[in-house]
Symmetry: none
Subunit: 213 residues, 4 copies
DNA sequence: GATGAATGAGGGTTCATTCAT
DNA sequence: TATGAATGAACCCTCATTCAT
């Protein structure tokens, strides 16, 4: 990757893209911790850079604005969610896939603390149209993946043909978002909620217990 | 304007309590508009008081701190939600009650703009324990009411006895919260989502279409 | 001035325009001292407000921007210059008027320190078009007054009819500006310079020593 | 690009002095453009180095401080002015010399933009004593040269013996500085001003039109 | 009670400058 | 030498809050 294709005299310190990328991640990680703890607006740049182990001025060479930092963070978070869907899509049966997703979402999402971030992102999107657009786009991808999964299960006879994959996927997304909120709030017991959710969705999809077995 | 309805209240109480209550509402209303628009932390006291048509200093005589204002606002919002549940509890059939709630939540909640506030509240609760406790308490009441409604429908033979009212109520609350988020984000079509939600919940509860009819 | 024309209930602390105007002047005075000492861009808002005996935040209630402060200061300075011209215009003979102006400009202009401000203003005008326009406008008024004065002296036979009042007034303004610069620099002796300037201008205008006497 | 013209200089001198001098000029040229555009204090080192096509760190190897850069720039500018005087001193008649100087100063000074720099320098000198001293020194040389020229013309009978060369030279310098300011401000027409200036000075010096011819 | 005026404590951002390669 | 990366110290401005009328 650092092959010298052109043997031109470098004349000065060569740029190191890998180090830059690494530091970028480092800053984003620190920012995430701060944002989870304080929210986007209450977290200060000084706090973030300190948490990331970087000087404030240096942080500004990677993210020219606090807003840029927020947006980059949101993008990274959405990308993570997309990864999650990909995992789920590879499950053998719907029940198995559902369970996996719900478990990953509600339980193992890095000690639950990140759940608050999803709320923060949604709240921010509710007033910042630019961010709303970005969140919508990522959500659309996830929802489409879920819808496609449902359709596939219909072809496999696993899911009732009566239901419409699109709105149902939308609904499942809603359920997940809502569960995240309640778990973050500590208003619900994650495991019980997860179990009930699996049952509700399977019933709603018209999945025969045998097929799910 | 400052009509003295009760020129002389006994007990040495300083001034007209009705006027005070009215002004309090006036400030809360202005604050709500600002919070919806900007969020709790980005909305400034100057902005809020201006929106409410009150001087900043005056506002501080009603809410000694911006935080107090936020908390009062949240309380008012939660109280509204509790009112909603009371309405629902009076419905005849489960299907009817559900439809009504969903409609009220997703469609008529004052031109949707207030939906963002619910997100803001949840996000704030995710980091402020004091607010989390308040939200949890209100949520507990609502969830209990929903659970009770389910139990009543089980007795009436309308709902399958296989399901557990508590977790299911929790789940329904999750679904509602999530729907609010997605509608606020404009990621979903409210009507389609509401229809799918009704169907999902009824199916999940084991309500036979005939009974719901 | 604070007559109560409308006996409406004031409802709150009444605004006091005189106090405001006074504080405005106070800030401008402090700003002037700082600008003279450091220049527009090197003077900080903290410095200025401290010099003016005002808090930074309070200063910002009078001048919403440092730029606004600079512009107001320039306007005040230009207004002072216009006052100067008015005085001169009332002199009996040209020689007397000239001497007076030169004296006022080079010697008594508040311990010379303000001279640097004129340079600062011109330098700023050289790059800020908005300020350039304001300075030009004030200069145009002054120059026109000088030209008019010359024309009057021509009619009185005091000044040769060979010269053109407009460009000559321009020239005299140039001379004054230049003298200010050199005196501020301490490159010239003010009195000697003033004497030579008077002589040069009178000679240049074709004023016969007898007439000037 | 970094051609080694002299691969081995004796005396252990580190590197090509010509290249250094050239780069120095390159930086000064970039700095001048920035200073003209923004002023000494508003121009940033990043801007300057970028305009000069050099990295910031590299610039610091030529000018260890922004202040050094400013001073070097001022020195270069003053040196240019001294060159100008030398040209003028070689003129045959006073009128011719004057005209030439005025023309060079007001018209051909590199598209007028540099005029602002003179103001910037004077303004800076008005507060920075070190720079004031440097400017004064250069001005003294120029003024002396002008005074000497006047004295020579007096011996030649071209100029009235009534005038005192020293203060008069000072005055002429003032006039020039002032004209520069007004032209930079676009408050005066350069040609008209130049013509009037020539006429005024000649008249002030008691030069008979015939003698000037 | 209600308003205008005032302020200390940051907040985001920039900048001259240095370090590392 | 020359460039990329990093940083401490401000700087302008704002905000929640208090004081004075």
């Amino acid at each position: 990757m650092t092959r010298n294709v052109l043997p031109e005299t470098p004349l000065g310190r060569p740029a190191n893209p890998e180090a830059r990328a690494h530091r970028r991640e480092q800053i984003l990680a620190g920012a995430q911790r701060c944002f989870v703890r304080k929210g986007f607006h209450a977290a200060t740049t000084a706090e973030i850079s300190s948490e990331a182990g970087v000087s404030v001025a240096n942080m500004y060479q990677y993210f020219p604005t606090k807003d840029d930092l927020i947006r980059a963070m949101i993008q990274a978070d959405l990308a993570e969610d997309l990864d999650l869907v990909r995992l789920v899509n590879e499950a053998d049966t719907l029940a198995e896939g559902l369970e996996k997703t719900i478990r990953l979402t509600t339980a193992e999402h890095e000690n639950l603390s990140n759940l608050g971030l999803r709320l923060e992102i949604l709240a921010e999107a509710a007033r910042n149209p630019r961010i709303a657009a970005e969140v919508r786009e990522a959500d659309a991808q996830i929802t489409a993946a879920v819808a496609e999964m449902i359709a596939r299960r219909q072809l496999a006879g696993e899911v009732s043909n009566d239901i419409d994959p699109g709105p149902t996927a939308d609904l499942i997304m809603s359920l997940f978002d809502g569960m995240i909120g309640r778990i973050a709030l500590a208003a619900s017991n994650p495991e019980a909620l997860a179990r009930a959710a699996t049952q509700l969705i399977l019933a709603g999809l018209g999945v025969t217990p045998k097929a799910a077995d």
